[in-house]
């Protein structure tokens, strides 16, 4: 126990902390500027000076660590004079253009001067002039205002890990710049903006459009983009979102955001939003009233069901919609329509992976806390770059490395490259052998623990020597040994499975091998999740074979639970999966389809095939916030309310349920309400008054959510397994090793998942478009040389399925055998070039080994 005396008050402390922390814990205020609780200590601004008995000069409270018996005074004459002096010095150069500065009202310097400073300054010299820099489309720098606290630099380097800005020059000339001196070339997380205490680094998005004190409302909600589920504060004026910020201590992201979350909100107010229902008349979509549209949908669906049976209708749910939307949707399909033909794009990888691994280890095995990651002593990343798919999750991995943890990666993980990873880069299509080699090596080192017979029977015969691994994969035996040693020595390992692996050839076998590794070293598994409610859409039973809560539709007892609440029968027969629906649409077995918040014409692999199949459907209903590619070919389009306009819940990748709140008021209907209206028109009334009402039904019926309510969620009691019953694995492990691919082509296609885009939403966010304006074809420097291509040159990228004409971007993080394309921009989606097969175990499309050629010139 340490005892210190601050301003005559005795304070007892458990462990040595800084004087500042000690004072704050006792409610004693010491002013600060360069100090920030998220950042490494710096002691640069000198505003926090305090008097310490027996130390002759004033000391910085933010850096000095207390010792037992220390006597501290924070409000003596000497201290207040020093503070006043520090502030007077800062104002020698600081412009005092507060009336014009966006920061005024929330500026820490303004507050400090107002509270502790002189009323007038004594310096008469001219202030330094550094013109405001507007070269960047998103971030404005006004370096005259900079007080050199280096908070931004410490954020960018020490927390974000991007090292994109630095102090340049010396003395009175020093200020902050990105490498180019003008435009940023960075991750655009905007976390530097969050920590700048003054108006030196600011967002251009809301420039001069409001004052902090004019914000009418602040609403805490959840990010609409990815599965991390960051907590956002949405600030609104005149019913328009002006700014999105994180909040210290709140949510999985505590004070941090990524570019999508911070700058991607503009789609909400986009002029392209659908405002009224549309009905196709003579081949053209025309505006209609809600009544016309809802009646038409109900009548047509009723007719089709009568004529062709329930199973001629299919529904696609959405990993972007809330749990409530998805729950009501599957109730409608199952109860009202009477079919289990229901699925979502979660089945493009995430769902299959999750269910495969849960089948081995039991429910909830991937429900691991994101916050624990940074304390792991080792993180093994397989199958893609977590820092672009789930950026804030990626930060935890970087933090792990900074805390001394080891990072191991297989394949391409550019965002982790500067974090000292041990990288294994097997030849194309040889990861399986490498993983088998690792399993063999770990079995040798650790032995089989005997606790899970199911997996042990599957892996006991795997035996491949490091020499054989080396022969096939070209990863040296020594490296494999080193990798295996690190894995086996780790005490708190985590395993991260990325998107590329989820859609790889023989993915179920790879998951088995990764599960085996996890089993042998007792690791925690994390699955990367691209969409904000990818987990929730599965939890809600938007899958052809399970009801909400993961019980099979063939389980009659479980069906009864729902039937008794819904008062309708639920079919026993498993329905069609997403890929099955496309096939059935093509061959005419599907007569009608209802698509909620999804854009299959764009978001399904081999999207042209999907488009042809959907065009073949007699009656297509699309419910969305924009007129998507799929909407354009629909018979009826229904406009929905979007994120920030409605309430509900999302379930993130760690399976935490979180509340979405309404920040903007817009006329219209939530997805679940539209569905309820249609169901009512079809004679099955849903009596939900609001989203919370839907949720209470979910928690009353599904054993998984037993007793959970919005109130509990609000209090943070929504971490898996909630208070419910989890399920343990049931079936035998099936695997599918995939076809063997030998690398023959010069180039193969890879789907890139850029940090700045997600697709339909981000395409309507100006800030993200400015940072990443168009689709490009990324190639390695060597490939560029081989084809004599420069950055920006047009190329024609062709596969068996078609071609795209795109500008080239040379990327030194890529392998020489890869052409990386995105699937985010209208008319330029890489999914149109993809031919795929379906993995028979995980039902995920296999998007690997797609040969591609490039040709200079193009259009």
């Amino acid at each position: 126990m340490i005892t210190v005396n601050i301003n005559g008050k005795e304070i007892k402390l458990e462990k040595p902390v800084t004087v500042l922390e000690a004072a704050r814990s006792a409610g004693i205020k010491i002013p600060t500027l360069c100090y920030h609780e998220q950042l490494e200590k710096y002691g640069g601004c000198r505003l926090c000076l305090v008097e310490i008995e027996k130390i002759p000069r004033l000391q910085t409270a933010c850096t000095l660590v207390v010792t037992d018996g220390m006597v501290i005074r924070t409000e003596t004459e000497q201290v207040t004079n020093a503070r006043r002096g520090v502030l007077e010095f800062l104002l020698i150069n600081h412009p005092l253009d507060c009336p014009y500065c966006d920061k005024a009202g929330e500026c820490e310097l303004q507050d400090m001067v107002e509270k502790y400073g002189h009323t007038t300054g004594r310096f008469k010299e001219n202030k330094r002039r550094i013109p405001e820099n507007l070269e960047d489309p998103v971030i404005v720098r006004n370096m005259e205002r900079c007080i050199m606290c280096t908070r931004c630099v410490r954020m960018c380097e020490g927390v974000q890990g991007a090292s994109a800005i630095a102090v340049i020059n010396r003395g009175g000339h020093s200020h902050i710049e990105p490498f180019s001196g003008g435009r940023y070339d960075c991750e655009y997380c905007g976390n530097c903006i969050s920590v700048c205490p003054v108006g030196a680094i600011m967002s251009r998005m809301h420039r001069h459009s409001y004052r902090p004190w004019q914000l009418v409302s602040e609403t805490e909600t959840i990010c609409p983009y990815c599965g991390v589920g960051c907590t956002l504060v949405v600030q609104v004026r005149d019913n328009v979102i002006k700014r999105v910020i994180p909040r210290l201590g709140k949510g999985v992201n505590s004070g941090l955001l990524c570019s999508r979350g911070r700058f991607g909100y503009e789609f909400v107010g986009s002029e392209e939003r659908l405002t009224s229902p549309l009905i196709k008349k003579d081949g053209k979509l025309e505006q209609a009233t809600w009544k016309e549209a809802l009646d038409l949908v109900a009548t047509r669906l009723g007719e089709i069901r009568k004529k062709y049976g329930s199973d001629s209708i299919a529904g696609i749910a959405s990993p972007r919609c809330t749990n409530e939307d998805n729950y009501v949707f599957q109730r409608f399909m199952r109860g009202t329509i009477g079919t289990n033909n229901i699925d979502s794009t979660a089945s493009l990888g995430y769902a299959g992976t999750l269910r495969f691994i849960e089948n081995i280890f039991g429910g909830g095995v991937t429900a691991n806390q994101i916050s624990e990651l940074s304390n792991s002593d080792l993180i093994f990343v397989a199958g893609g770059d977590p820092t672009t798919v789930n950026p804030v999750f990626g930060l935890k991995i970087r933090a792990c490395s900074r805390n001394g943890g080891r990072l191991l990666t297989i394949g391409h993980s550019k965002g982790l490259r500067n974090f000292n990873p041990v990288e294994l880069r097997p030849q194309l299509f040889t990861e399986t052998v490498l993983l088998e080699g690792l399993v063999t090596a770990l079995k040798d080192r650790k032995g089989l623990p005997g606790s899970n017979k199911k997996i042990e029977t599957r892996i006991k015969d795997i035996n491949i020597s490091v020499d054989d691994v080396e022969k096939t994969s070209r990863v040296s035996g020594k490296d494999v040994e080193k990798f295996a040693n690190l894995l086996s020595e780790s005490v708190t390992p985590a395993i991260v499975i990325g998107r590329e692996l989820m859609q790889s050839n023989g993915n179920s076998y790879k998951f088995l091998l990764l599960s085996a590794i996890s089993y042998l070293i007792n690791g925690k598994i994390y699955l990367l999740s691209e969409r904000s409610n990818e987990q929730g859409v599965i939890d809600m039973g938007c899958a052809p074979d399970i009801l909400p809560g993961y019980k099979s539709v063939s389980d009659s007892e479980f069906r009864k639970r729902y039937e008794s609440v819904w008062k309708t029968a639920i079919p026993e027969k498993q329905g069609l999966s997403l890929s099955g629906m496309i096939i059935s649409a093509k061959n005419g077995a599907i007569k009608a389809m209802y698509i909620m918040g999804e854009n299959p014409v764009y978001n399904l692999p081999d999207s042209k095939e999907a488009e042809a199949a959907l065009k073949n459907i007699g009656f297509l209903v699309v419910q969305d916030i924009f007129l998507s590619e799929t909407g354009k070919i629909a018979d009826v389009v229904l406009p929905a309310l979007s994120w920030s306009e409605k309430e509900g819940t999302f379930t993130n990748m760690e399976r935490r349920i979180q509340l979405l709140r309404k920040a903007v008021i817009r006329e219209g209907k939530e997805d679940w309400r539209i569905i309820s209206n249609i169901s009512g028109n079809m004679g099955v009334k849903f009596n939900y008054s609001d989203a919370e009402d839907v949720f209470s039904e979910i928690s009353s019926v599904s054993p998984l959510y037993k007793g959970l309510s919005y109130k509990e969620i609000e209090m943070g009691n929504s971490i898996y397994p909630y208070k419910g019953e989890t399920l343990t694995g049931g079936e035998d492990i099936q695997i599918h090793k995939g076809k063997s691919i030998t690398a023959v082509s010069r180039l193969y296609l890879r789907i890139e998942r850029p940090l700045f885009h997600s697709g339909t939403l981000s395409r309507r966010a100006q800030a993200l478009l400015k940072v990443y304006p168009e689709a490009v074809a990324r190639i390695s420097p060597l490939t560029a040389e081989a084809y004599s291509l420069k950055n920006g040159d047009k190329v024609k990228v062709s596969t068996k399925k078609g071609f795209l004409e795109l500008p080239v971007a040379i990327d030194d993080g890529l392998e020489n055998s890869v052409v990386a394309l995105t699937n985010n921009f209208e008319g330029k989606g890489a999914f149109s070039l993809i031919e795929y097969t379906i993995d028979t175990v995980t039902n995920a499309p296999v998007i690997e080994g797609i040969e591609v050629s490039i040709e200079k010139g193009g259009g």
Partner: protein, 154 residues
């Protein structure tokens, strides 16, 4: 692109220090030698070899006045105008350079022969005014001998 030999030189320098950042100053100096000045490519080369982010390398280099932060002439005149030198007529010397060569502070003559950098005290106050031309030291400058000295640099 750096030659194999230079890459090796840089790697050797790296070995002399406990961590990569400590090796920045000499490494930047070599990149400057190879690229002529601290161009973006020069920083990128240093960053690639040392594994220190290029933004950090640039931040460190800009602290120092004696690196070439922009393309410079063949000969760099570092002329001191701090107190002692100023009292003994350094400012007149600045004018002379302008009259004779059209050379202004922080600029380069159109023929690329000279660049002029104005220095704060270079530690030769006792024999002021003083200057460095490239790495050669010259003191006790006068309006006459400064031209003589500079004429020997082509």
């Amino acid at each position: 692109m750096l030659s194999e030999a230079v890459i090796k030189e840089l790697e050797e320098i790296r070995q002399r220090y406990p961590n990569a950042r400590a090796a920045l100053l000499p490494a930047i100096y070599i990149a400057q030698r190879e690229f002529g000045w601290l161009s973006p490519e020069a920083y990128e080369a240093v960053s690639d070899i040392l594994g220190v982010p290029k933004t950090i390398a640039r931040g460190v280099a800009t602290f120092y006045a004696m690196y070439k932060h922009k393309p410079m002439g063949r000969n760099i005149v570092h002329l001191c105008t701090n107190v002692s030198c100023m009292i003994l007529g350094a400012e007149r010397l600045v004018d002379i350079l302008k009259e004779r060569y059209g050379l202004e502070p922080n600029s380069t003559t159109p023929d690329g022969r000279f660049s002029l950098v104005i220095m704060e005290c270079i530690g030769a106050c006792g024999t002021a005014p003083a200057m460095l031309v490239n790495t050669d030291f010259h003191d006790n400058l006068t309006q006459e001998n400064i031209i003589q000295i500079l004429e020997s640099y082509k």
